[in-house]
C-alpha cells in the first residue's frame, strides 16, 4: 500500500511531465477527442461540450498548465503520504522492478530514511505545484515553451523520488543522473542569455564529475562484494583504507551536488538562472537528496564509520557554513544570495552529521542519534524555508522584474502578504526562536556540547571551536537576512519598477509559500512530531533513538535529559504573547497618545531621496573590511572632475566586484590545464600523412619488439 503510494508519486510526477508535452499538440488532441466522440456518440453531450470548450485555443494552455501542476501536486501529496506511512509504521519495504540489466533488476527499498526524504520532496513539490501555475503564466510560449519546462520538472521530481527508492547502485545512478540531467535542462531553460548557458554547462559538468565519483565509490564497494545491489554492498568487508577511499569518493560526489565549499561553485551560478519554483526545488530539495545519498552511503552501506570521516565532515561543513554565508552576504542578486545561503545551510548539516559520525565511531550511539536528528531536522527545515524564500524571490521577480536587491525597497507596503511570508522565511533562516530554524540549530548546539564524553583531546578542542563557528554563522545569517529583508521590503523604493509593483494576484502563488511559512512556524512551535519521525529513521539506521524524546510531554524538547537541556517553544510563544500584549495594551490605552504621521527627519537638510538609503554594499561594508581575506574584492572609485583646474567633483562612480576564491585557485587552473594538455596532445596530429605512416610503422615495430 505504502509502496503503491510511493510508486504513485513517481508515476504522477512522470505523467505530469508527459502531459506538459501536449502543449504544442492541441490540434492533435482536438482531433483525437473528436475521433473519440465519433466512436462513442452516446456519451453525454455535457462532458463533450466541456471538453470541446477546454480545447479551445484560449483555454487550452491555461487548463493544461493547471492540469500539469495538479498532477505534480498530487505526486507531492502521494509522496508525503507514503513517507508518513513508512515512518509511522517503521517499515522496510523492498521490491523489484523488472527493468534494468537482465540479471540485476532494479531493486527498490523504501525504509524510514527514504520515507523521511520523501516527506521533504513531497512537501516541497506540493508547495511548488500550488505556486507554479501562476508563476509560469508570465512566460512567453514562443520563447520559453511550457512543454519543456513541464516535462523536465516532472522528470526532475520523478528522478529525485527514484533516487530515494533505489536499492542498487545501478538504479541509484540512473535515478541520480535523471535528476541531474532534468534539472540541467531546467537551468538552461532561459538559454538565450549566455550567462545561463554558462551556468548550465558548469552545473552539468560538476554533476557529471560528481556522479563519476559516486560511481567510483560504489565501484570500490562492489569490488569487495558480489554484485552491486545495496544488500550486497552492505555485506562488503572493506579494509579501513579502502573504506576511507570509498568515503572520500562519496563525499566528493555527494558533496558536489550538495554544494560543499570548494565544490559549490555551480550552485550560485545555476540556482539564480532557473525559474524560481525550480530554484526552490533544486535548492530546497535536490541538495537534500545529495545529503540522503551521503547518509545512505556512509551510515548504511559503509556502516562502520570512522571518527576521522566525522572530522572531515565537520571541518568541511564549518568552512562551507562560514564561507557560504559570507559569500551570500556580498551578493546583490537575490537568488544568488539565497543559493549561497544554501551552501551555508548544507555546511551546517554536514557539521552536525560529522558530529554524529564522531560520536558513532566513539561508541556513543545515542549522541550520534542526537546529531543525526539535528542534521535531518535542519535538512527538513532548510527545505521548508529555503523553498519559501525562493518562491518569495520568484514572487518579487514576477512583480518587479528585478532580482537586484539594490534596486528594490519599500515593497512591504506594495506587497504586504508577500512581505509577511518572506519575513517568516527570513526569521526561520536566521534561526530566531519560535521558528523551525532555531530548533535545529539548538539541537546542533546541544550535540556539540556533548563533547565532554569523548576521550580524544583533539576532538574535544575541535568541536567547541566548530560550535563557535556555528554561532558566528548564525549571527552572520541574521545580519545577511536583515539586509535582504530590509533592502527589499523596507525603506523607499529604489527603482521605478518597485514603485509600480503591486501584490501578487494569483491565489496559488500565495498559497504555496503560505503553506511553507505555516509549516515553518508550526514546526518551530511544535517540533515534536517531526523529531519523533526522525527518531524512527535514526532507530532504523543507527539502531538507537533518543532516550526520552517525550519524557516531558509534547510541549517540551529535551533531547538528552531534562537536567541537561530543554526547550519548550509553546511556552515561549505564550510568554511572548503575554509580554507583547501587556505592553501593547498598557501603552496604547491613552487616547491622547495616538500616532502622528509626519515627514521623516532629514537633519534639516531636506529632500531625502531613495538614493540616500543604505545600499547592499554599504550595509555589508563593515563585514567586507573585517573579513577582507575571504573574497577577492575589486573596488574602484572613479571621479569625474570639472570646473576650474578640474577640481570639482561632478560625479563619482563606484565599482565593486566580489569574486569567489575557488575560481582562480581551483577551477581556472584545471580549465587551463586541460586546454594546454589538449594543445600538446593535438601536436600528434600534424596533418602530414608521412608522419601518420610513421606512427603506424613505429607502432608496429614496437609491438613486434614487445612480444618477441
Amino acid at each position: 500500500m505504502i509502496l503503491a503510494l510511493a510508486y504513485g508519486a513517481v508515476l504522477l510526477s512522470f505523467f505530469s511531465g508527459l502531459l506538459a508535452l501536449l502543449m504544442n499538440q492541441r490540434l492533435h488532441v482536438l482531433e483525437f477527442s473528436q475521433h473519440w466522440f465519433k466512436k462513442s456518440p452516446h456519451g453525454n453531450d455535457c462532458s463533450q461540450s466541456a471538453i470541446a470548450n477546454s480545447l479551445e485555443e484560449k483555454h487550452f494552455p491555461f487548463l493544461l498548465r493547471q492540469a500539469v501542476f495538479v498532477l505534480l501536486g498530487l505526486s507531492g501529496v502521494f509522496a508525503i503520504l507514503a513517507g508518513l506511512g513508512v515512518l509511522i509504521g517503521k517499515e522496510v519495504i523492498t521490491d523489484q522492478l523488472s527493468l534494468g540489466l537482465p540479471w540485476v533488476p532494479w531493486h527498490v527499498r523504501f525504509d524510514c530514511l527514504s520515507g523521511f526524504f520523501f516527506l521533504i520532496v513531497g512537501i516541497a513539490t506540493s508547495a511548488v505545484s500550488l505556486y507554479g501555475p501562476g508563476y509560469v503564466n508570465s512566460y512567453d510560449e514562443s520563447q520559453h515553451p511550457f512543454a519543456v519546462l513541464g516535462l523536465f520538472t516532472g522528470l526532475f521530481v520523478a528522478g529525485m523520488l527514484l533516487v530515494l527508492l533505489a536499492d542498487d547502485a545501478f538504479f541509484f545512478m540512473i535515478a541520480w543522473e535523471l535528476m541531474s540531467v532534468a534539472s540541467y535542462f531546467l537551468v538552461a531553460f532561459q538559454h538565450e542569455n549566455s550567462a545561463n548557458r554558462r551556468a548550465a554547462f558548469l552545473y552539468l559538468l560538476m554533476a557529471e564529475v560528481g556522479a563519476l565519483a559516486i560511481i567510483l565509490g560504489f565501484g570500490v564497494l562492489a569490488s569487495f562484494s558480489d554484485g552491486f545491489t545495496f544488500g550486497a554492498l552492505r555485506e562488503a568487508h572493506l579494509s579501513s583504507t579502502w573504506a576511507s577511499i570509498a568515503f572520500m569518493l562519496a563525499l566528493l560526489g555527494f558533496g558536489m551536488k550538495a554544494g560543499i565549499v570548494p565544490v559549490h561553485v555551480w550552485l550560485p551560478e545555476a540556482h539564480p538562472v532557473a525559474p524560481s519554483h525550480i530554484s526552490a526545488l533544486m535548492s530546497g530539495v535536490m541538495l537534500k537528496v545529495a545529503l540522503y545519498g551521503l547518509i545512505r552511503f556512509c551510515f548504511d552501506l559503509l556502516g562502520d564509520v570512522h571518527w576521522q570521516w566525522g572530522v572531515v565532515l565537520l571541518v568541511l561543513g564549518t568552512v562551507s557554513a562560514l564561507g557560504g554565508i559570507l559569500y551570500a552576504m556580498m551578493q546583490t542578486n537575490l537568488k544568488r544570495l539565497l543559493a549561497y545561503s544554501s551552501v551555508e545551510n548544507i555546511g551546517i548539516i554536514f557539521m552536525v552529521l560529522g558530529l554524529s559520525m564522531i560520536f558513532m565511531a566513539n561508541g556513543h550511539p545515542q549522541l550520534a542519534a542526537l546529531g543525526f536528528l539535528a542534521a535531518l531536522f535542519h535538512a527538513f527545515n532548510h527545505a521548508l524555508f529555503k523553498n519559501l524564500l525562493f518562491l518569495g524571490a520568484g514572487m518579487i521577480h514576477h512583480q518587479t522584474h528585478q532580482l537586484n536587491i539594490d534596486m528594490m525597497g519599500g515593497l512591504i507596503k506594495k506587497m504586504p502578504k508577500t512581505s509577511m511570508l518572506f519575513l517568516i522565511g527570513c526569521m526561520s533562516i536566521s534561526s530566531l526562536p519560535l521558528f523551525n530554524g532555531f530548533v535545529s540549530e539548538w539541537l546542533a548546539f546541544q550535540t556539540a556540547l556533548q563533547v565532554d564524553v569523548l576521550n580524544n583531546g583533539v576532538l574535544r578542542s575541535l568541536i567547541p571551536v566548530a560550535a563557535a563557528a556555528l554561532a558566528l554563522t548564525a549571527a552572520l545569517a541574521a545580519a545577511c537576512f536583515v539586509k535582504v529583508f530590509g533592502l527589499i521590503f523596507l525603506g523607499q523604493p529604489r527603482s521605478h519598477h518597485c514603485e509600480k509593483a503591486h501584490e501578487v494576484q494569483d491565489k496559488g502563488m500565495l498559497a504555496g509559500p503560505a503553506l511553507l511559512a505555516g509549516l515553518c512556524f508550526l514546526f518551530g512551535i511544535f517540533p515534536g512530531p517531526v523529531i519523533s519521525l526522525i527518531n524512527s529513521v535514526a532507530g532504523q539506521l543507527l539502531g538507537e533513538t533518543l532516550p526520552n524524546d517525550a519524557a516531558l510531554g509534547w510541549l517540551w524538547l529535551a533531547p538528552v535529559s531534562t537536567s541537561q537541556s530543554s526547550y519548550a517553544p509553546p511556552l515561549v510563544l505564550i510568554g511572548a504573547l503575554i509580554a507583547g500584549c501587556i505592553s501593547f495594551w498598557y501603552l496604547r490605552r491613552n487616547p491622547a497618545t495616538a500616532l502622528r504621521i509626519s515627514e521623516t527627519w532629514d537633519c534639516g537638510f531636506g529632500g531625502l531621496r531613495p538614493r540616500m538609503q543604505y545600499s547592499s554594499s554599504a550595509f555589508t561594508m563593515p563585514f567586507r573590511r573585517i573579513f577582507a581575506k575571504v573574497w577577492i574584492i575589486d573596488e574602484q572609485i572613479d571621479k569625474d572632475m570639472q570646473g576650474a583646474m578640474n577640481q570639482d567633483v561632478a560625479a563619482v562612480h563606484y565599482h565593486l566586484q566580489i569574486q569567489d576564491h575557488s575560481w582562480p585557485r581551483l577551477y581556472h587552473p584545471i580549465e587551463h590545464g586541460i586546454n594546454k594538455l589538449a594543445k600538446v596532445v593535438g601536436r600528434i596530429q600534424t596533418g602530414n600523412i608521412r608522419v601518420y605512416l610513421g606512427y603506424s610503422f613505429v607502432t608496429l615495430i614496437i609491438m613486434l619488439w614487445v612480444i618477441s
Binding site: 593535438g682 596530429q685 596533418g687 600523412i689 610513421g694 603506424s696 618477441s708
Partner: protein, 225 residues
Amino acid sequence: MNIEQLDFYTQAILSMAALVGLTSFLMLGQGRLLRLIFVFAMQGFLLTLTTALAAYSLNNHHLYISAVLTLVLKVVFIPWMLRREVLRMNMHRDVEALKNNTAVMLGGASLMVFSYYVLHPIVQSSSVVMVNALAVSLSVMLLGMLLMISHRQAIAHVVGFMSIENGLFFAAIVATNGMPMVVELGVAFDVLVAAVLFGIFFLHIRTSIDSLDVDLLNKLHEVDK
C-alpha cells in the same frame, strides 16, 4: 639444413627471395619516379617467377593463376598506369631529394635483421625450408612502409603500397604455398580496384593542389599554426 642440401627449385626460390629484397632496397633509395616504377615492375616480375616456380615445384595449379594475376596486375597494368601518370604530369625529369638517404638505407638493413629476429620462432618451428624467406617478405613489407614514409610523391606512395602487397603475396607463397583460391582472387580484385582508385585520385589531387606532393595535403590537422 643448409642451402646446398636443398633441391634446385628451393634454391631458386630462395635466390628469388633475395632478389625481391634487393629490389625493395633499390626502390627505397630511388629518387626518380620512372626508375622507381621500373624497379617496382621488376619486383613484380620476380614475384611472378617465384610464384610460377613454386607452382611448378609443388605441382600446385592454382598458383599458376596467381602468377598470371601478378604478371598482369603488378608487372603490366600498375606500372603502365603509373608511368602514364608520371608522363602526363610531366614529372619524369624530377628527382626527389631524399633526406638522410644513407640513414634510411641503414635503417632498411636493420629492418631486415629485425624481421628475422621477430619471425625467428616461427621459422624455427617449421620444417619447410621456404619459410626462411618469410623474413624477407616481412622486410619487403616494412621497407615498403619506409618507402612511403621517406618519399613525398603520391606515386611513390602507391608504389610503396603495392610493394607492401608484394611482400604479403610473397609471404603467402613461401609460408603457405598460397592462400585458398577464393582469398587470392579476392585480394587480387581488391588490388585491381585499388589501382583504379589510385588513378582516379591522382586526377583529383592534381586538380585540387596542382601537384602530387603529399606534404601539401596538410589542411586537416590539430596543431595550432
